[in-house]
């Protein structure tokens, strides 16, 4: 490809970290080891990564936690130096990979704006000219002379974001911005992305959010265990990513289901009684709780949570008075009108009151919901609906 169309070229990049072994447990071994060279474990984080990002492209980097995608972003940003290979960037690059870097809680909002602006490469004069707009966009006019430590985390993010969007560089690196903030803030982020896309700026975007990747990215790369699995169309990448996740969730859940936590065992099944960790929209989920025969249990409770910790639904046999606990197991059947994503089960067993807990599992087995077919719309639950 002709050089003038390339924004970033990553050529056969490998990166390993050295993790020192620190197992000095006694004074004696400390003395003995003092004369030895400290031993290291090399952890290969990225292996032979090569791709090119074109100018004006919205490029996604996708991968599970610990796959090496953040390391890759830091290599692009020039924060890490590759062990092998080279990263070449044409044009200026925002040196940020996170919001609010360098924010100091002891400084006022105003002082932090100027400090953060300087990190972005703006002079004091340029910042002074933009200051009014930044404050207005963050909707923090009344708080600018307060110390940052008195801000709520949402206010801090808003302030950081309104500075970050001023960045004028040719290439922007964005890491998981969407993970923070409320719905209104996320909407602001998306509006900003729309604008960037219109302006044909070059964006490198790291995210877990496949919807955003599919919507904004022209191309994406999927990283798993430090290797490039696929480079290309965001739709296909999102599909690969989903499969990658499912195989590991199933393996994880099977292991989780098998191991007993406390004396209570939770297993997830479908309507046919098969152990499952993946469900389609509106499918029936059966949660089976079992406990040893010697334990007396009079009531049970079950709750569903999103992987982010938001309660989807909870109930118990105190509320559902008709439900009776007999023997040493109980089954709970529920339909799942839920959108794509990961969820987990919380469960507990009780005696006569909710205070008399027999066993309680805060984070039980996880399951995932398929992306399709799901009624259109947004929100925690997906309800079938029609317009007339």
């Amino acid at each position: 490809m002709a050089e003038q169309y390339i924004a970033i070229r990553v050529h056969q990049v490998s990166k390993a970290f050295r993790l020192p072994h620190e197992k000095t447990t006694s004074i004696k071994s400390a003395i003995v080891n003092f004369y030895k060279r400290r031993s290291f474990e090399r952890q290969q984080v990225l292996r032979d990564i090569s791709f090119e990002i074109k100018k004006g492209e919205f490029f996604g980097i996708v991968g599970r936690n610990g796959s090496g995608k953040s390391t890759l972003l830091k290599l692009l940003a020039g924060i890490y130096t590759p062990d092998k290979g080279a990263v070449q960037v044409n044009g200026s690059l925002t040196p940020f990979i996170e919001l609010g870097v360098g924010f100091n809680p002891e400084l006022t909002g105003r002082e932090n704006v100027f400090l953060n602006g300087a990190l972005l490469g703006f002079s004091r004069k340029e910042m002074a000219a933009m200051y009014g707009d930044i404050v207005k966009f963050a909707e923090l006019e009344r708080f600018m002379d307060q110390k940052l430590k008195n801000y709520s985390s949402g206010m801090q993010v808003r302030l950081a974001f309104s500075i970050a969007v001023r960045a004028q560089s040719d290439v922007l690196l964005i890491d998981e911005v969407l993970a923070v903030g409320d719905a209104a803030f996320q909407q602001k982020c998306f509006d900003y992305f729309d604008r960037l896309k219109e302006e044909r700026r070059t964006i490198v975007f790291v995210s877990h959010d496949m919807e955003a990747v599919k919507k904004y990215c022209n191309r994406a790369v999927l990283i798993s265990d430090g290797e490039m699995i696929r480079l290309g169309d965001p739709q296909e990448i999102a599909e690969d990513y989903r499969q990658l996740n499912d195989t590991s969730i199933d393996a994880y859940t099977a292991a989780e289901n098998a191991t007993k936590q406390s004396d209570l065992t939770i297993s997830l099944r479908d309507a046919q009684g098969r152990v499952k960790a993946r469900f389609a929209y509106d499918q029936e989920l059966t949660v089976r709780l079992t406990w040893p025969a010697h334990k007396t249990v009079k009531h049970a409770g079950i709750a569903l949570y999103t992987s982010g910790g938001v309660n989807v639904f909870a109930t118990n046999t105190f509320i559902d008075k008709t439900a009776k606990v007999k023997g040493h197991s109980i089954e709970y059947h529920v339909r799942l009108p839920l959108g794509e994503g990961r969820y987990y089960v919380m469960a507990g067993t009780f005696l006569d009151t909710k205070k008399d807990i027999v066993d309680f599992i805060v984070h039980g087995p996880e399951f995932s919901m398929s992306p399709e077919p799901v009624p259109s719309g947004e929100g925690l639950v997906r309800l079938t609906h029609k317009w007339e």
Partner: protein
């Protein structure tokens, strides 16, 4: 080219903000605030003055000994403060290093500049003492800036080295503390060099750039009766050793810092 990079608009703006932040945060929550940067050396001076001049009569025979002593303390304090602040500076700014691509040396330079500003304020106090003590203005005073540049360069070389080494070995801060404690007594700060009668010892002490610089500064603005490296080492092959040490420290410090800086983000 390097100089061009250092004074580029972006880096100047960043340096300015970092130094300003340092100053805003330094005396946070203290009643006297900035006054402490003047009070600290003055109180230190007072203690040393009472013990060594009043009780032990160290300054007998040296004209304007209080000013002589104060100047020594102020110059030494600058070196000590700059190196110890710079030593931890890179680690303390770990959040920036790990998340932003900014030139790493800017962090050390910014902490060196806040020490430098403090030092210049302290020099004003020295000037006031000179007036009170009726010290005559000497023409050699014009050389003072040159001597101060030498001290700054020496401290900078040391700072770069220490800051980079501290990222890898946290022992450095303890070692440096002890070294500075020892060096304080091996540098003629509280005692006039003329009290040491053994010429070999005098020469050895003056090989230390800090000793040479402090003596030269005293010679330049307080009294020409100061024993300087120029007098004691004159004619020997090692007469430029202090300056050479300063140069080697700077080159070595820059080289080591540059080598290590690429891995700061992962080693912090």
């Amino acid at each position: 080219m390097v100089l061009q990079k250092i004074v580029s608009k972006k880096n100047r703006a960043l340096l300015r903000e970092l130094v300003a932040t340092d100053f805003k945060l330094r005396y946070q929550g203290s009643v006297l605030g900035y006054a402490w940067s003047l009070l600290r050396p003055l109180l230190m001076f007072l203690i040393l003055y009472v013990v060594f001049v009043k009780f032990l009569k160290f300054g007998a025979g040296v004209p304007h000994f209080p000013v002589y002593l104060l100047l020594g303390i102020v110059v030494w304090n600058f070196f000590a403060e700059m190196t110890s602040q710079s030593l931890g500076s890179v680690v303390a700014r770990g959040d920036l290093i790990r998340k932003v691509r900014i030139p790493r040396w800017i962090i050390v330079i910014s902490s060196s500049l806040s020490a430098l500003i403090n030092f210049l304020l302290n020099l004003i106090v020295v000037a006031i003492f000179m007036v009170i003590n009726h010290v005559d203005l000497l023409r050699t005073g014009l050389l003072l800036p040159l001597i101060l540049v030498e001290v700054y360069i020496f401290a900078l070389g040391m700072s770069l080295f220490l800051a980079a080494a501290f990222v890898r070995f946290r022992d450095v801060s303890y070692i440096w503390e002890v070294v500075m404690q020892g060096a304080f007594y091996l540098t003629p700060i509280i005692y006039p060099l003329s009290r040491i009668t053994n010429v070999t010892f005098q020469r050895l002490l003056l090989l230390n750039p800090m000793a040479q610089a402090i003596q030269d500064a005293r010679y330049a603005i307080v009294t020409h009766q100061t024993v300087t490296a120029g007098h004691v080492l004159a004619g020997h092959w090692y007469m430029y050793a202090p300056h050479l040490i300063v140069l080697v420290t700077l080159v070595g410090g820059v080289w080591y810092f540059k080598r290590e800086a690429r891995y700061f983000a992962e080693n912090i």
